[in-house]
Symmetry: C2
Subunit: 577 residues, 2 copies
């Protein structure tokens, strides 16, 4: 058993190892160890035909679970238990766990021409499962921790947690493993004290969640593509709303969510201002949006749109508590020293939020100066000079009209109900040629919007890039670890994109579309408020089947469907694009 | 003798010490030393009435002057010479040197009520000389080096050289010690190879002078208030033009200046672009101007104005060479691979340069988004929270409408002929309340513009702040060293500000103004093309006297005055404000 701790933050880890040797051969065993090293050497007089079976058991404990002094004791007790139970029982419980996971989570594609070996579909199925499995690995034990950018697969980003947990991973977890989604949101709630302190440090009211962190403290050294990404506040609150809508977990909203909403809404109100130059609109200046190739800008559209949603949800939640649960409201007001006038101010900012719009191009400019930038010379940028950030000085990139990753387009996915298909089409066609996709967070989102606007060719191209990001090493950097967020993005692409899933108002809706050449059947489960729905999009019809639970109301396009134990299945025709 | 070198760049310094003891008392001497340490201890049997005189000589040599191996030999030879000559001769030559310096440089103020002890005027005189003396200390031996921000008085800024050498110090040196001015410009010329390499590194054509440097390489770690300050290129070329105009040193322009002009003009042309969003005007995006509280902005007015001057002077110089000195032109074209079309492109950019202007406020906005910023809450900023950069996160400062130091106002001083007094007044009145003066480079410039627009109260207030910056520790940080640039600024304030000096077109002009309550006589020498002029601004009249040289043409306001050996003095009435 070895126990190590990091030097400054004293995060401790204990690893215990034990062995069980089964053999009829004569053997000896020698154990040596020092402070940093442990070794067990078996010397076995092996005989022909005489089997030797060595079972190796390992137990890990971290200081997240118990105080450092107890770690070794705990590891010892656990080791005793599993050695006593034996490998078979471990294996069985793991099988149960995995079966349960796949039942809740597996997205299946099957080519209708079943008799032929359709290699592509088999590979796609493997890639989907590869992605979902790695999300499981990265998130299953996220208890009082976040999900590192590379999961457990690599050391890039130093194991830090970013906004992509909330925007790219939580949708999958919310709809397949809501318990883990709740763990992750609780982890954010627990870092509220540090987020409050960080806001003070930057001269703000409210709370400011860290751009990158392990323990809740801001760990980003470079503000332009770090601390300036205030949008993380709104991203977490967005994930909170989706979680509450999908699970009905009003208790979590009351006990944890509301407090985060108050503090994040405060931050936005403090950060922005009513600008004379913008005719009294509420503006947010000097922030960086998701696109890290345009930093420290004024009125990043994504940030303003998401901040508006944050402010709106905060006001709505606080008002609902005040009306429906005065005790909870009083407790919240006490904890946050909330003044009723604040809620009015949030509503006013919501209503006055400035969202850039270009009358002539009929698009949403990514920020105030985006259209002022010099066009990037894509034609003379050699293929091997991507990702640009590795080959050009940041000043050179920031100066030009070039995009690392979906920004306005991401807002149009997340807040899809606020935009017409036409608007999505115009913006997609404007931004797509400017988007390098140098971030792995881009393709899955572009694929979804492409699917929504009926650009099948791009939906497939970006979708495959997202799906194969790590298996085919699309970014050329899988040696640094898997892109866990992009993996979550592939699930979104399959469900929201190809499956046409929408969840804007708390009722699950589906607008499945099918391209003429597309012969694959898509099937996926969705957990909603404790019920499990299975959706199968066939060639001509879509089937909605209630698997767990008494009843569930969903929508097929605009039609409301009521599934129940008595009538668990509904079938509707699929539109062709 | 000790010789040390820096670890990485191998800059070496030798210091030799020797002693000469004169006494009739008995004495012994013990010398000890090791690698890092040397000691000479005299033991003297001192007797009453018997004098003991110890003279200590020190010699310094650096690897800038000789190669490291020779340093000790050189120091020894020099030590032998001075020991042989003795202290008296050193003293005499130093006195000559200082007398010569004061004759060329001293700015004198004298209260007309000579019979009374006017303490203020005496103190002001002391402060002026304190400032000029420190500039001498910092610059006298600038041979193949620059002038560090703190001169030889402190270690802040790590001895690095910045733009303030060219903009704040070179005017004084150009008009009093042109040889040193030339040294400093030659030093810039010699770092042209590194400046070319740095431009490549940032993806630019031409040359990019380092924001901070010792050896010519960029030493700034933080681009926002460092590398992004592209204006240093134009600042150096501005100082070059002033130097050539004031000295007539066309040889330097031909042999060194022209090459720098070509490379800097190239950089501007590459950095900027013709912007559709700005109706085809030439725009320069993502740069930081002199004001470090508004970083990485589009169309910083100072930068665009100074870049325009840079491009204009480059085109003019190259065209003049082509017409008047084909050999020199060919050599230049060869050295820089100059294509004649480039000059046309510079002229086009000059003519198309975008300079922001706000029709309603009738001011030049400092940059494209300056007027979009949220006003800084000056009222609730406690006195002890200045300088802001020590108390607020940069993002918080950059987001607000608050200025560290004169920016548009500095351009209006440097390019004074491009702006009417009305324009200066409007801009000064707009920017002055927004300017914290958190940089020591601000007050002297604000004082000059205040003097030019007749705001005597502010001219005096800012002028005194600049003058007493170090003696009265106005900035509270003189412990880190003197503000050499501000010291140069005080000379500009006295000559350009109070003396009304103008040098826009190569002819010295004076527009002296006198406030009603002002009873001090101001007298200062100016060296121009090898002649020395002395200007004395009395209560009613101004006297221009040619001290050295055959003849000199100057202007008093719009009147041309021809001074000669026969008629060396002209007297004109002084206008009262």
């Amino acid at each position: 058993m070895l126990c190590h701790a990091t030097e400054r933050s004293r995060l401790a880890l204990t690893c215990a190892t034990d062995h069980f040797l089964e053999t009829s051969c004569t053997y000896g065993c020698k154990v040596t160890h020092n402070e940093d090293f442990g070794q067990v050497a078996f010397t076995i007089e092996a005989q022909p035909e005489s089997p030797i079976q060595l079972s190796k058991y390992m137990v890990y404990y971290t200081s997240r679970i118990a105080c450092a002094e107890e770690l070794c004791g705990r590891a010892e007790w656990t080791m005793d238990r599993v050695m006593h139970q034996g490998f078979q029982q471990l294996l069985t419980s793991q099988e149960q766990y995995m079966n349960d996971f796949w039942r809740r989570s597996d997205v299946r594609v099957k080519d209708v021409r079943e008799d032929r070996t359709n290699r592509t579909t088999v590979e796609i199925q493997q890639a989907i499962r590869f992605n979902l499995f790695h999300i499981l690995q990265a998130s299953a034990r996220a208890e009082d921790t976040g999900v590192p950018a590379k999961g457990l697969t690599g050391q890039a980003y130093e194991g830090h947690y970013f906004w992509d947990t909330e925007i790219y991973l939580l949708p999958f977890l919310t709809y397949t493993s809501p318990r883990i989604a709740k763990n992750l949101l609780t982890f954010r709630y627990k870092m509220l004290p540090q987020a409050r302190a960080r806001a003070r440090e930057l001269g703000h009211r409210g709370a400011m969640f860290p751009w990158r962190t392990v323990s809740g403290e801001e760990a980003s050294a470079y503000y332009a593509a770090g601390t300036a990404q205030y949008h993380i506040n709104a991203d977490i609150m967005y994930a909170l709303r989706k979680y509450v809508q999908a699970t009905g977990d009003e208790l979590f909203l009351r006990d944890c969510g509301a407090e985060m909403l108050v503090e994040t809404a405060r931050l936005w109100l403090d950060l922005g201002f009513y600008s004379d130059a913008k005719r009294g609109k509420f503006c947010i200046n000097s922030v960086t949006g998701p696109d890290e190739y345009n930093t420290v800008v004024n009125n990043n559209a994504y940030t303003n749109l998401m901040a508006r949603e944050n402010l709106r949800y905060a006001a709505q939640t606080v008002e609902a508590l005040r009306t429906n649960d005065p005790d909870a409201y009083n407790s919240l007001a006490h904890k946050t020293a909330l003044d009723p006038s604040e809620v009015k101010a949030w509503i006013h900012a919501t209503e006055s939020m400035y969202v850039p719009y270009h009358e002539k191009l009929k698009i949403i400019p990514q920020d105030d100066s985006f259209l002022d930038r010099e066009p990037w010379d894509f034609q003379n940028t050699p293929r091997e000079h991507y990702p640009l950030l590795l080959f050009y000085h940041p000043l050179n990139i920031y100066r030009k009209r070039v995009i690392k990753q979906a920004d306005v387009i991401l807002a149009m996915f997340l807040l899809g109900h606020e935009f017409s298909t036409d608007a999505k089409k115009r913006n997609f066609e404007f931004y797509d040629p400017l988007t390098t996709g140098d971030s792995s967070l881009s393709s899955c989102v572009e694929a979804i919007i492409a699917a929504q606007i009926g650009d099948t060719e791009k939906a497939i191209r970006y979708g495959m890039a997202a799906l194969l990001m790590d298996l085919a090493d699309v970014g050329g950097n899988v040696k640094d670890g898997c892109h866990i967020a992009s993996m979550g993005g592939t699930w979104m692409m399959l469900t929201y994109g190809l499956g046409g899933m929408r969840d804007d108002d708390g009722i699950l809706a589906f607008w499945p579309r099918r391209a003429p050449e597309d012969n694959a059947i898509l099937r996926f489960p969705v957990t909603h408020c404790g019920r499990m729905l299975e959706v199968e999009i066939g060639l001509e019809t879509v089937e909605y089947a209630l698997r767990d639970g008494e009843h569930l109301t969903i929508r097929h396009e605009t039609e409301e469907l009521h599934l129940s134990r008595e009538n668990p299945v509904a079938v509707r025709p699929v539109s062709r694009t």
